[in-house]
């Protein structure tokens, strides 16, 4: 395997994206930030890969105009996944591993405020049997949270503790769209939203975009004395079938972790759009008690669709860059109730 590192990261997260019909124009300044961080121009980028969703944009080929944001000529080596951009990062990492390119810029974007997100996401379900019933994302997460409570794996207080810690940490994150103003008691006193979930247990509907630069070997060292080297990356998926899965588990997260060495991870940015899902992931990834979880505030304080997972990888990488951690974990999820997961372990090296 080649040594590949995260060497650039830019993001925007907001409750609503006023003044534009889409997120594409948001990408141009994000690319500019990545160029400023690396000292590169678009001609230094060997491969481009994005993650987005046509359904979120409400039309076909929503990624096509995003390519315009890269620039016009010359043509680029480019691809797209209809998934969170964390999987675009995986495709870019593969491309670098083949030796075809040394650098890549990965981006994701999603404007959830244009529609009713929980209704839109119901269209991810089996169209022949489940979609006609419109069970929405939040309700499905509620079922998952209840299953864990009934099984004695967590309780509402443990969920509130996750939310409280996230909101407190988010006070230091300029991109968070929700932060502070909580105590566990306050949170537990708030009304139920989708029993047993309260609003703070659910990620806020968020618009946003993000970009990450990957580079191999000396190209990474050219940018930084302390790049975030990817020492392990893996992804798995579970069956959708809500009735037969054990919703308190996420085997695909455990399988992803098993392909990487998570020993010694100090910081983990987990893509857990619901508070109880952080508890599921902690168990599946077998994270030690002293691992700092989501110091950025995590998805509960800002979760732009199709880039929420990529942001977790970027936030984790930043802890390596600034020297506050030597080994970190970025995680992404997709699909209802943690169906699909990706794990990316990064390390700083002397």
């Amino acid at each position: 395997m080649r040594d590949v590192a995260v060497v650039g990261f830019a993001q925007r997260q907001m409750k609503e994206f006023d003044g534009s019909p889409n997120c594409v124009e948001l990408l141009v300044p994000l690319f500019a930030e990545c160029y400023a961080q690396t000292g590169w121009t678009r001609r230094d980028i060997g491969f481009w890969c994005s993650g987005s969703s046509d359904y979120l944009a409400g039309r076909s080929f929503s990624f096509v105009s995003a390519v315009d944001a890269i620039g016009v000529m010359p043509p680029v080596n480019e691809s797209h996944v209809e998934m969170d951009a964390a999987w675009a990062l995986y495709e870019a990492w593969l491309k670098i591993q083949t030796g075809e390119v040394d650098t890549a810029l990965v981006y994701g974007f999603g404007k959830s405020s244009a529609g009713l997100l929980r209704r839109t996401l119901a269209l991810q379900l089996d169209p022949y049997t489940m979609t006609p019933l419109w069970p929405d994302t939040v309700s499905l997460a509620g079922l998952q949270a209840r299953a864990g409570i009934d099984a004695g794996l967590w309780d509402e207080r443990a969920m509130a503790e996750v939310a409280h810690r996230s909101l407190t940490d988010a006070e230091k994150n300029e991109h968070a769209i929700r932060s502070g103003g909580s105590s566990v008691e306050d949170l537990l006193a708030r009304p139920l939203y989708a029993d047993p979930l309260r609003k703070h247990d659910c990620a806020p509907v968020t618009d946003g975009a993000a970009a990450i630069v990957l580079a191999a070997d000396d190209r990474a060292r050219e940018v930084s004395d302390r790049p975030a080297w990817i020492s392990g990356i893996a992804t798995y998926v579970d069956a959708l079938s809500m009735g037969t899965r054990d919703l308190t588990r996420a085997p695909s997260a455990a399988s992803s972790a098993a392909r990487c060495d998570l020993g010694g991870v100090e910081v983990a940015e987990l893509h857990a759009p619901f508070s109880h899902q952080e508890l599921v992931l902690r168990r599946e990834l077998a994270l030690a008690d002293d691992v700092a979880i989501n110091p950025s505030g995590g998805s509960l304080t800002g979760n732009p669709m199709f880039t929420g997972g990529l942001i977790r990888i970027g936030e984790a990488a930043r802890r390596v860059w600034d020297g506050s951690a030597d080994k970190v974990l970025g995680h992404a999820t997709s699909g209802p109730a943690l169906q699909q997961n990706l794990v990316c372990v990064m390390e700083g090296r002397a």
């Binding site: 046509d54 076909s60 096509v64 043509p75 080596n77 593969l94 491309k95 169209p127």
Partner: protein, 387 residues
């Protein structure tokens, strides 16, 4: 380091029809997958990862269908990637699957792409108004017709060339048991007599709208060497350019020319016309055959139509193009690119049945998408590449 060797050892596709009422999306994918696995002599337990591709989700009305298809695709408990690069997606999906092997991450990857267009309405799915974008709601034919007119004007091609392509591909389709359109009496004259849709594109010069899927099994060197007839991957490429800009040449896009140049270099090919023995080129409207022949470097600019007119692209010619019947005969959009890649692999493996060209050593698979802006291509060969 360079790419590790990889090869196609299994190819499967569905019977293509306007409406496959007998199968669900899952059933459609399984029909192609089961044939590919049978061809490879493998079961799903032998497969390490699944890569799935399709064109816009609005074609079937399901958001990210790979999530509900995970079990049917045999992906539950395995890695799953979903690719979407417009009309080129079938080719791009095969390339991503190949890269999993070429990068040394997995040894045996199954890739499948599909479109069940009868579940929805492609024209509607492509015609959602987008603020601040050009309102081009004339369908794909309306978008591409000006490119064709421009090609005819620039090259001085006689106006019957498109009909030559259509008659050839529809006749070739009769040799392909999986083809959607099976019109035994198609001739140049009958194509020219068909209704004009988007001048100069006539009805019989357009692709159908199909339900269908294609699947490939792509494996590492050791596994390939145990296979009786692997199609070795000699080169892969993807290139994209923006939708609109004054300097775009939509008849012969730079992304297409750049992609071809990079592909031939990887495959060690200096004269594609003599060194490629069979080509599966994405031709959804007949005139794209001469246009892409030029762009890919098979002919000088302005003279692609001469190859077509002289019969050089017929099965008996020196560069047989679309012996399977091509996109003109079957077009399940998300799968169409992979069908081109898969048919190229069948030719290199000597496994194309009635539409096999004799003695194929190297074959081209080609796909394009968007407004002639996304390109994916590969060269596969009967022998392991030397470099």
């Amino acid at each position: 380091m360079g790419k590790l060797p990889a090869a196609v050892v299994g190819v499967g596709q569905t019977h293509h029809r306007a409406k496959r009422l007998d199968v669900s999306m899952a059933g459609l994918c399984r029909e192609a997958m089961d044939r590919a696995l049978l061809d490879a002599g493998m079961g799903l337990d032998d497969i390490d990862a699944i890569v799935v591709g399709k064109a816009p989700d609005l074609f079937e009305g399901v958001m990210m269908p790979e999530l509900f298809l995970a079990e049917a695709l045999g992906a539950a408990g395995k890695p799953l990637l979903r690719v979407h690069t417009a009309g080129s997606v079938g080719g791009s999906t095969a390339i991503v699957a190949a890269s999993l092997v070429q990068a040394g991450v997995h040894r045996r990857v199954l890739t499948v792409s599909f479109e069940k267009q009868s579940e929805s309405n492609a024209m509607w799915a492509l015609s959602v108004p987008v603020p601040f974008n050009m309102p081009v709601h004339a369908g794909a034919g309306g978008y591409f017709a000006p490119h064709v007119r421009s090609y005819i004007r620039r090259s001085g091609a006689p106006t019957h060339i498109g009909a030559v392509v259509a008659a050839k591909d529809r006749q070739n389709a009769l040799k392909n048991p999986y083809a959607h359109l099976r019109n035994p009496d198609t001739t140049v004259e009958s194509v020219l007599a068909s209704q004009m849709l988007w001048d100069p594109i006539r009805y019989d010069e357009t692709c159908p709208s199909s339900d269908g899927a294609c699947a490939l099994v792509i494996v590492d060197e050791d596994t390939a060497q145990a296979s009786p007839n692997p199609a070795w991957i000699h080169g892969t490429v993807m290139r994209s350019e923006a939708t609109s800009s004054a300097e775009r040449d939509q008849v012969n896009p730079q992304a297409s020319r750049d992609a071809a140049a990079h592909l031939w270099k990887q495959a060690g090919i200096t004269d594609p016309f003599t060194e490629i023995d069979a080509a599966e080129i994405y031709v959804p409207f007949s005139w794209f055959e001469p246009m892409w022949l030029e762009s890919l470097g098979f002919a000088e600019v302005g003279s692609g139509w001469k190859l077509t007119e002289a019969g050089e692209t017929a099965m008996t010619g020196s560069l047989p193009v679309n012996c399977s019947g091509g996109v003109l005969s079957s077009n399940p959009i998300g799968a169409s690119g992979m069908l081109r890649f898969g048919e190229a692999a069948l030719q290199a493996r000597g496994a194309a049945g009635e539409h096999q060209v004799d003695g194929v050593r190297r074959a081209l698979g080609h796909a394009y998408g968007g407004g002639s802006q996304f390109f994916s291509m590969w060269v596969v060969g009967s022998e392991k590449p030397t470099s």
